[in-house]
Subunit: 340 residues, 2 copies
Amino acid sequence: MPVGTRGTVRTQTLGQLEALGAPMLLANTFHLLQRPGAEVLERMGGLHRWMGWRGAILTDSGGFQLFSLAHAHTLGEDGATFQEVADGPRVVLTPERSIAMQRAIGSDVMMVLDHCVPATASHGEAEAAMALTHRWARRSLAARGDSPQQVFAIVQGARYPALRRASADALTAIDGFDGFAIGGLAVGEARAEREDLTELTAALLPADRPRYLMGVGTPLDILEAVHRGVDMFDCILPTAWAQHGRAFTAAGKVDLRQGRHRLVDEPLDPSCPCQACARHSRSYLHHLVKCQEPLGWQLLAEHNLRFYVRLMAELRTAIRNDTFAALLAARRQTLAQVAA
Amino acid sequence: MPVGTRGTVRTQTLGQLEALGAPMLLANTFHLLQRPGAEVLERMGGLHRWMGWRGAILTDSGGFQLFSLAHAHTLGEDGATFQEVADGPRVVLTPERSIAMQRAIGSDVMMVLDHCVPATASHGEAEAAMALTHRWARRSLAARGDSPQQVFAIVQGARYPALRRASADALTAIDGFDGFAIGGLAVGEARAEREDLTELTAALLPADRPRYLMGVGTPLDILEAVHRGVDMFDCILPTAWAQHGRAFTAAGKVDLRQGRHRLVDEPLDPSCPCQACARHSRSYLHHLVKCQEPLGWQLLAEHNLRFYVRLMAELRTAIRNDTFAALLAARRQTLAQVAA
């Protein structure tokens, strides 16, 4: 899922998004509550209609902001109150309020409000956050009401295998979730630890419902997680890298800020059909990036999103053809270079 | 001509530019000398090939920077030396060096280096700048060599009708210019004065060659200048307004930063075929602008460029059909509201 935090995948027009072919976008409840707020989304008929996107939308609940804005909120059993910040008003998030906003947004998949803690959390902190996440999961499910929108639960438990097992068991025992996410990873832990926890957790989730690894990751991270049973991902890297002049290519990471591209009359990635590769040279892209021209960001975002979408298509095809093991062996090396 | 100062019309992809249908872009010799410099353009086969633009390109000579960067250069008979600035190296501009760079760029129309002075220039200053402009025009023409690129002269003379007449007479007496520009306007003078000087000057320029009013202007400015015999224009307003959330529409100027658009589920301009109007509401565009999302800038730039291109098409059609007088009478009122 390309990330469209505020109801726009940064720099991409609808035409570009449609050509990209990603079936689902991610939007963020916290940021949409800040701006434009629930009233606009309700009166404009929901996010799909408002932004003009005909594909699917998954909304994060705002739980990740309990981690990323840890110093800007107060937390209680009922929910979290975020301070007013420069670019947005005060936001109060409870499980019910998050789901109400996600109903106003009209996303296809709503996430339960969860309490995401950093990788450094103690066992006691992790256990408390997990238990709160479970109580909030039940309240979120109850708040769904008669909405046809799907609801996914989120497994927490930080770096503690026993807590991850307990969380997966507790949430899968609740009737009514349409899918399950693995939350609280990619928040500071080592790669090997993340992969082990992903493997352990994914194996405990029902095979007949989607498994979603939140906020992950590099192409290699995704390959390894698919290998461990994950079906869905969201990641900001394609658009965030583009903003800084960095591109994913089949031959590895390319930093277009570097002067060595100044006179390179070759495409960024000859195998890629995007506008940046089909119509421009590295020399021209380097110039756009050096001048901080918005077109550079736009073109590289389209390119990087295509890289991800093509990778996912490659993985799906391999799974269907029962050739995933061979693909894994072949791609582990090449993808390790992409985001090294 | 949409303005593509650094070899990109800010925020617009080639696909958008091609769909726009403008036959010619403007690029800037001074800024392209700063970055990427002559070597890149020579080795990449010129600006058309490097940026991928199949239409025509006119290059400003750098003369306008003698006005806009007045405190950052030293001037002599030979040319101007610009100080190193934060976003670019030291640039030396002489008539020969400007033409050499424009040959490296490979523009379809090269402008002579001229000395543009502010509207506050005294008669003595204006006369000296005009005389220097004439000497530089001859040197620029000589520097063209065997290039097939066209060269346009630039009439100067500031706010002094007698100087404008002298400048037009002196330049049209030189054999070899493919077109004539009216320079040194839109630099601080009143609208009525600009219109009078445009009328006076345009009448002295040959009817069989293009007349180009540099750096003008609002839709009404363009209407009034066409009425006075001008054929060509460049203007930064469509893209510059877009960056600040402002749009040109048939019904007048629209400032999308204003909160009154928050709940308006109507297109920006129902008569416009651009992506912003065809697929988005004012409510959504307002959100993008408020969040400073680059997509807002992109969409409004496309919209504003289309507004200008459609206006020019309307003017051409009226001239061909001999209905310009009626159009002028009808549009003077409506266009006055557009950039009021």
